[in-house]
């Protein structure tokens, strides 16, 4: 199999969400001398874009996104050390959590998986996180973006409190809110920089935020 063939095969296995096959393909690509950066850009990123398009066209749904995200994560675990060693690639650090009083994790887990799959370093604080913990962790890692995810309408007030505390503590990270309970008006009133109601859109917004912010 030549380099082009394995890249296409890997991309196809990612799109199909075939984890074991994707891992085999990425290892094979490295073994035959394909550069990690080429694997990332030509197979992983393009595969992820194709998955995103299928989601937007309603060919793919949460289950398909999740499995593709899992496949990408496994590939990234293999690729990441090579990428850092060779070109010092930095994608950005995203810290994410579900605010205090809400323990729903499905939406958060999806976006964590998708972000990791795009090469971001993701710090997942978990669920039911008090504002003080967001502040404490943000001071440790200074993330590029902080994501607050929630499902319940009662979470909105805690999101607001968290954003206030982060700003009071001088944290300048961009803040994105996620969840079906949100709206443009709510995002503005809370004082966040952006909001999203689905994982794929969230990834796009975060990339856009980092581009504007001078990130890569």
């Amino acid at each position: 199999m030549d380099k082009n063939e394995i890249i296409n095969k890997l991309k196809a296995s990612i799109i199909e969400g075939l984890i074991e096959e994707s891992v085999e393909n990425v290892k094979f690509a490295i073994d035959i001398g394909v550069e990690a950066k080429t694997i990332l850009n030509e197979a992983v990123v393009k595969g992820a874009e194709e998955v995103g398009k299928k989601y937007e066209n309603e060919e793919y749904f949460l289950a398909d996104m999740l499995l593709a995200g899992d496949a990408i994560n496994e590939c990234m675990n293999i690729l990441r050390p090579n990428l850092k060693l060779r070109n010092g690639a930095k994608f950005g650090t995203i810290m994410i959590g579900t605010p205090e009083g809400d323990i729903h994790e499905i939406g958060k887990s999806l976006i964590v998986s998708l972000l990791q799959g795009q090469g971001f370093d993701v710090i997942d604080l978990g669920v039911d996180i008090p504002p003080a913990r967001f502040v404490e962790e943000a001071k440790k890692v200074y993330p590029d973006v902080i994501g607050l995810s929630g499902l319940l309408t009662v979470t909105i007030s805690k999101m607001r409190e968290t954003v206030v505390e982060l700003k009071k503590a001088g944290i300048i990270s961009k803040i994105i809110l996620g969840g079906g309970i949100l709206s443009e008006e709510t995002c503005k009133s809370i004082g966040a920089d952006a909001w999203t109601k689905d994982g794929w859109e969230g990834v796009r917004i975060i990339k856009e935020m980092l581009r504007k912010d001078g990130g890569n």
Binding site: E58, A63, I106, S109, D128, V154, S183
Partner: protein, 362 residues
């Protein structure tokens, strides 16, 4: 003056059955435990521990909000059903309790592994202290208001509570396992239903929280497979009309109403009022609870005038054709401004009287 629950019952039932003579558009707010705690000043644990207190506080809250329905929000097979499963499977440590809102289970903790699903025990609700107290509360509410009480059922919401995000992986990688879980939850829902019938009598209708019917969650085909077909099966077994609740932002209302017989749908999306006008034309026998009044918009962030305009838009466009109930969706958020909440019944008083005589877009 005591609250006229009889007038509310008449208003709601006439609207559901399409009778073209009602005094005003009915109002159905979605009241969560946090709202009852806010109005009554009691903690969730206090409410759950005393059926008398919970019933009294619930009635007081619904009356305060000038609602046309009354109930006990926890008597819903979402968190309370997850708790029943956690109890019978020895996983109560997975439950988080809060002072002023409902307890929640850590999603995916009860059915973390394949073997957890395979060995999952189905709760007997008659033996559950929580469900006993919830049904006692419902019974008191029913006796005091004469408003027929029932529990709200839901299947996919319980799948998500028990199996978490793993359920979505199962959908593609182990569909049989997921179906096994759905079957167990289905049996459990029937157990809840028959317990309710024994204590409260046969209900007039069932409200079914069908959270799978949302484009953000899954394809319509999967929604039918993992929830819709179970609803159809349940309808055959219990022979009671169903109302579908889905508070998602991309619901499959049209698609599902073509497949399953619902007498009403309850949601807040799409936000375009024209969707709802067209929906009403396509499904004239389906009562719309809600249309486009989303609690996280005007009610949360707007002014009482914004809320009034939104309610007016809904009433003038949908009430004259009948089978319309004003219902902001979903639960009223904690901390929302009280004048905004109260702007809904005020707007109904202003625009919703004698709805069949209202002219569209006046």
């Amino acid at each position: 003056m005591s609250y006229d629950w009889n007038a509310s019952i008449t208003r709601v039932l006439k609207t559901l059955s399409g009778v073209r003579k009602i005094d005003k558009v009915p109002y159905v707010p979605m009241v969560g435990e946090d709202t009852i705690a806010r109005i009554s000043g009691k903690t969730t644990k206090e409410l759950l521990n005393s059926p008398e207190l919970y019933a009294k506080s619930a009635i007081m809250s619904y009356e305060f909000l000038q609602s046309d329905i009354v109930g006990i929000p926890t008597a819903y097979t979402g968190p309370a059903e997850a708790l029943a499963f956690a109890e019978v499977n020895g996983k109560t440590e997975m439950i988080n309790w809060y002072d002023y809102k409902i307890f929640m289970i850590q999603q995916g903790a009860v059915c973390k592994t394949k073997s957890d699903v395979e060995n999952l025990k189905i709760p007997e609700h008659r033996k559950s202290d929580l469900w006993k107290k919830l049904f006692e509360s419902l019974k008191i509410v029913q006796e005091k208001t004469k408003f027929p009480q029932n529990c709200i059922l839901g299947l996919w919401c319980v799948v998500q509570e028990l199996r978490g995000i793993q359920a979505y992986r199962d959908m593609r990688r182990d569909s049989d396992l997921l179906m096994k879980l759905c079957e167990k939850i289905y049996d459990s829902l029937l157990d809840v239903y028959y317990y309710a019938v024994d204590l409260l009598g046969k209900p007039g209708f069932i409200t079914f929280a069908g959270y799978s019917f949302n484009r953000h969650m899954m394809s319509f085909k999967d929604a039918m497979k993992y929830e819709g077909d179970f609803i159809k099966r349940m309808q055959k077994e219990i022979k009671i009309p169903f109302i579908l609740h889905n508070c998602g932002t991309a619901p499959y209302f049209e698609e599902v109403c073509k497949e399953i017989n619902f007498i009403g749908i309850n949601g807040s999306h799409p936000l375009d009022i024209n969707y709802w006008i067209e929906f009403q034309k396509k499904f004239p026998k389906v009562t719309i609870f809600g249309a486009n009044i989303d609690v996280s918009r005007e009610i949360l962030n707007g002014t009482p005038q914004d809320v009034e305009e939104k309610v007016k838009e809904n009433i003038l466009n949908l009430a004259p054709s009948g089978r319309y109930i004003c219902s902001p969706v979903c639960s009223i958020p904690w901390g929302v401004s009280l004048p905004n909440v109260m702007a809904v019944p005020k707007a109904i008083e202003k625009y919703g009287k004698d709805p069949f005589k209202l002219r569209k877009n006046q």
